[in-house]
């Protein structure tokens, strides 16, 4: 198996972790004609209003989904970590309802859009895994809506940190209580419906209380249970596809 198959293997593993895939399903995925591309930070993969052309998966680095109001205010509506599919949300859309952009330098695996749609029609198990991925993302957005709508800045920020940690850990990345936050405070604000200034104050306040420690953008929780309580964080919504694999 050639070197270039590794990215497709990553895709197979991700989908198989959502719903069981048999050998034929896996083989069909591995036969996809995928191209790996490296993208600079802040590169747009999809722009609102445009027809989605690509079908990409994040191999390394981070990406975000965002929407803008007409007067330029930005809301980040999703955060993607390595392994995440980037275009399932727009699989059948003729115009994107949001922008997708890299957060850091990132590698993506680009797969032909029609090929994916064909797999969905011919291989129910793959269709099912993709649907579970879509539903799982939707559950996360609902939790974000609760977070932004009903939690104060303290809980809101803590919740985002908890979710990020939980998702990274769920996919075998990073240590138990520390990770490099790939976002500026302005971006954090845009994800939380807050201003960068207030994010800064909230972050420092959590730090002053000893809930977390920071070194640059590296954040470390001193007590997972404590920040979890502050965040009102429950992992329930992250498993909205059943617990297969891993």
């Amino acid at each position: 198996m050639a070197e270039s198959d590794l990215p497709l293997t990553m895709l197979v593993q991700r989908l198989a972790s959502l719903s069981p895939l048999d050998d034929d399903d896996r083989a069909a995925l591995l036969e996809l004609n995928g191209a790996v591309r490296t993208l600079e930070p802040a590169t747009y993969l999809i722009r609102e209003g445009e027809p989605p052309r690509t079908n990409a998966f994040l191999l390394s680095g981070f990406a975000l989904r965002q929407k803008l109001t007409s007067d330029g205010a930005r809301q980040i509506v999703g955060l993607q970590i390595p392994g995440d599919p980037l275009d399932f949300q727009l699989l059948y859309a003729d115009a994107a309802d949001h922008n997708v952009q890299t957060l850091t330098r990132a590698q993506v695996l680009v797969v032909p859009r029609p090929a994916v749609q064909e797999l969905i029609e011919t291989r129910p198990a793959i269709a099912r895994a993709i649907m579970i991925s879509i539903l799982s993302d939707a559950a996360i957005v609902r939790e974000w809506l609760l977070n932004v709508g009903r939690r104060d800045s303290r809980a809101r920020l803590a919740h985002l940190l908890c979710e990020f940690t939980a998702r990274m850990k769920a996919h075998g990345m990073d240590g138990p209580a520390a990770y490099e936050l790939p976002m500026t405070q302005e971006q954090l604000g845009d994800a939380l419906g807050l201003t960068a200034v207030h994010v800064n104050r909230t972050l420092r306040s959590l730090e002053a209380e000893g809930v977390l420690t920071r070194r640059g953008r590296r954040v470390e929780f001193n007590d997972w249970e404590r920040i979890r309580r502050i965040a009102d964080f429950s992992e329930l919504y992250l498993h909205s596809g059943g617990d297969h694999a891993r």
Copy 2:
């Protein structure tokens, strides 16, 4: 065709409006073993944490999706109108991440869960229509997140009113500029991340400016373009499945 087939016909039409269905697809749907039930206002169809048992479609009346923080604050994360599927969001979940509840007295068509999953596996066109329905709901939640995160109370409320009107009209319900709002001001607040008191003030302020007229819960827009501008409303996100049918 028996009287009791009418509800299934409504389901067929809704799905066909999302993605083309041939005669076999339609026949397969009509063979579903559906039961119509009438539910009182505030009846729970799904509770957070529980395994979804039903697979229901709203025939008449309104329903909502909601999540709660641990200290009891509520966020409404979705509003469903007649014709909407209620359980696709939990199709493969083993535990619901949110509650689904009737808003008004409502009639639902309940269909066996396994039968729907089987249709998805055997009829790609139906699977596709369902996926588009799911993606369309997800796009609405993203817009709500932008709304709650980045618009002030005025625009936020106006946006909800615009969306509601647009969705009702898209499915052939209600007049061009007036409709009966099926929610209390407290529920509006829970959908918008505001308090009931502030919803009241905002509503009255819009009324005082002549943007809208109210009689009880009936709301009428005096100038659609004006409220649309206030709301920063664009219908783009409501068509995230392509423009088939109608």
